[in-house]
Amino acid sequence: MMNPATNAVSDAPVSFHPASSPDYVPREQLCGLQSRRLRQVVGRAYEHVALFRQRMHKLGLTPADIRGVDDIRMLPFTTKADLSDAYPIGMLTVPIQQIVHLHPTSGITGRPIVVGYTRRDLESWTEVIVRCLASCGIHQGDVVQNACGYNLFIDGLGLHYGAETLGATVIPISGGDTDHQIMVMKDFSVSAICCTPSYFMYLVEKAEKLGIDLRELPLRAGAFVTDSWSDAMRRRIEESAGIKAYDIYGLPEIIGPGIGAECCHQNGLHIFEDHFYPEIVDPESGDLLGDGEEGELVLTTLNREAMPLIRYRTPDLAAIIAEPCQCGRTMRRIRRIARRGGEMCVVEGVSVFPSQIEAALMTVEGALPNYQIVLTQEKGLDRVEVQIEVTARIISDQIGAMEGLQSKLADEIEHSLGIRVPVRLVEPHTIGRSSDGNKRVVDRRAN
């Protein structure tokens, strides 16, 4: 076992990492870079993405009309539905041979999308993750436990690339097997962790049960991804583990994690504006909103090769903080308000998509029953329950048959998600009559 005392790097004062230098470029210089990159990316999308070209034509635009970053508001939006419509390769701007990483993923609507990366995209991704981690005070010499999933979800891989390039020692432990996670954390004097906030709370809970006080371990920083969290949850994480908990922002469609990150002031997330141009629009009208106003976050990838996205409407509500940050970064910050609609939750560190649950229900019942996914929170952890209305087709006079159906549904969902989720049979016509309306996903998590 390592002696934590030799692990002095963790306690070193926050130093400047060379990879962070783009975070501090003067605004005028940044603006020039953004304009140049926007022209390139628009030209590229126009040339290769039929959908984008058609939309430009409808608006009477050609790439030549986009001279600088201020012209971005003239451009058409891209939505997640567009990505599904263009599936599998309609959004890609390069032949598949030039794609080094192809990431098919499930959409919230149950329709598949795919995200592609060229070699240069992976380099850009790695660069922004390095900047994220550096911004969270994670440096060379840190031992980083990467408890983000590596397979189905993109977070694990991106953070791995970044932490490795940063010069940290990466433990690619991925999600699950919590006891082992805690042992590793202890035995290797882990100083930083990457995971979701809810999975971390789960780790804290498990550690407590094992009689381990995380505050006494060298763990110092957490770079948290994926789900949104409340200030109360952040405080609980920081207090229960004696760490600083930082928010990292990402979206698989855009690049994965790495769009922005908090700095040591933990007051909003700096968006890496040389790569991603943020706008806030009115979710209804699509009109541009001013600084500080709450609205839908729209992102344009300024430097993506394989799959540039122009004015992509994210599922997030946010506001731009225009005031400069005390840290000195020139990158503007966003304040994240919420992820809309509760499309996704994280249970035991596993991201849950309604589409996966729907697919499992379809498998068992042959058709989609009237169902609801109810999200709740217990001790800061997300819980999910699938409620299914009993229909004439599934009703039986035998308890065994009903219970058999219930466990078959749970088995199939487990097969699809990798975790077991409780299934509750409910009376007919009860779903959609409550105050929750007719939503498939009902979010009762306190936030």
Partner: protein, 147 residues
Amino acid sequence: MRIPQLSLFVENQPGHLTLPCKLLAEAEINIVTLSLADTRQFGILRLIVREWQRAQEVLEAAGLVVAVTEVLAIEVHDRPGGLVELLGIFEQAGINVEYTYAFTARLGNRAVLVFRFNDLDAAISALTRAGINPVSPISLYDHLEEE
């Protein structure tokens, strides 16, 4: 001989049993007998009613989901060993009793039980071979509802 039984899904929560019972009461349908099988989350309410088709319509019109299953009503000597004799017949024929419950009233000195079998036809022939005639629905309702 075969008696239709209605089964309803009810959540295991206060008040949830009331609705189907109230619907039948309003339609002036008498419940001859019933049983409630329960789990922690839900129950299956099984009902024997005379006008089962009308009852089914009433319940379904209110949005409830009804399963109709055929069961047998069988007389049993109301004395020690009475039930064992009967069960022996099914055991020998390799027929499984899925569940059973009783009628509240008796036929003479005999109790009447509802039986749900995994194989109804096999159960009927086993009973016939043993010289036992399941109670016909008409005589059952006539007799039981008189009391």
